[in-house]
């Protein structure tokens, strides 16, 4: 059915109900003015003045909502990239500019795909806190492990020392030389035996 001519005339000549229908030059102008925080009314006037096109305020308002959402994704991605790089640099590592850009792209993709929980800064902070706690626990475990290792090393050294002493005594015995009180004391020390025990043993042997 044909629309009445009067209805078609109702809309202003050349008025556009969506920003996509504007010329590229006008679209660029709209985006730049939105970047500068201009109001839809001001943008409409500027577009009219510059390109003689007539976007409606509603069209600019709708587009602005969509545009700001995209800008927010990008700004969130920027924050997350900055935080991550800060953490990496704190560990003494360097990040190339290309890697930074790639991280930024990845974070933007996460934000755009709607997985906002993955980019949520609070979650990020929480994760960082958990990471720090884990690192602290790891450090404590490492310290305990090191202590155990040091003990083991000490025991090993003592065992080696004991074996060396026993070898010396064994050699002495094989040479037919008798072991003196000094040697007995050494054996007692090696096996951690008390005076009485040593005396008993000496006594029972005789």
């Amino acid at each position: 059915m044909k629309k009445p001519a009067a209805k078609r005339k109702a809309a202003p000549r050349g008025s556009e109900s969506s920003v996509e229908a504007l010329s590229e030059r006008a679209r660029m102008l709209v985006a730049r003015m939105l970047d500068e925080g201009a109001a839809p009314g001001t943008i409409t006037q500027a577009v009219r003045k510059e390109t003689h096109e007539q976007p409606t305020i509603l069209a600019i308002t709708n587009y602005a909502r969509q545009y700001r959402a995209a800008q927010k994704h990008r700004s969130d991605a920027r924050k997350c990239t900055g935080l991550l790089i800060e953490q990496i640099q704190r560990k003494g590592c360097e990040i190339t500019d290309l890697l930074r850009a790639a991280l930024m792209e990845a974070f933007t993709h996460i934000a755009e795909s709607g997985k906002t929980h993955e980019i949520n800064l609070l979650d990020w902070d929480k994760a960082e806190r958990q990471r720090r706690e884990l690192a602290l626990k790891e450090r404590m475990t490492n310290l305990a492990e090191r202590r155990v290792l040091a003990n083991e090393k000490r025991l090993k050294l003592e065992a080696e020392k004991m074996n060396a002493t026993l070898d010396k005594l064994d050699k002495k015995a094989r040479q037919g030389r008798s072991l003196g009180p000094e040697d007995l004391k050494r054996i007692r020390d090696i096996y951690g035996l008390g005076e009485a025990c040593g005396e008993d043993e000496t006594g029972s042997g005789e």
């Binding site: 590229e24 660029m28 985006a31 545009y67 500019d97 930024m104 933007t108």
Partner: protein, 104 residues
């Protein structure tokens, strides 16, 4: 130059200007080629790979942007991975210098 050619030339100049404007948001850091393409798309300026590469190459020749490239084995040609605005590009954006092929 005919009216149509003039309009096309102006369109190229404006697109180059738009690229500089977008790169300014991450100055002095680089932006990946794909992210730059997406940012332009969000601004209702969708550009194909070859067109964007052409604009970036022009801007790089003028010293307004710095591009990082790698050889693409499939195409046997250099592919732009990322681009960043230079100090000279910033001066151009601030209208302290001029280039006949860039308009804002």
């Amino acid at each position: 130059m005919t009216g149509n050619e003039g309009r096309t030339a102006l369109q190229h100049d404006l697109r180059r200007g738009e690229i500089i404007w977008v790169l300014k948001q991450d100055y002095p850091h680089a932006v990946t080629f794909r992210l730059l393409q997406l940012a332009l798309r969000d601004r209702n300026v969708p550009l194909g790979k070859k067109d964007l590469e052409g604009y970036l190459s022009y801007l790089e020749e003028g010293g307004f942007v710095r591009c990082e490239r790698r050889i693409d084995d499939e195409d046997i040609r250099q592919k732009i991975l990322s681009a960043s605005l230079t100090a000279k590009g910033l001066l151009l954006l601030d209208r302290k210098i001029e280039d006949a092929g860039v308009q804002f």
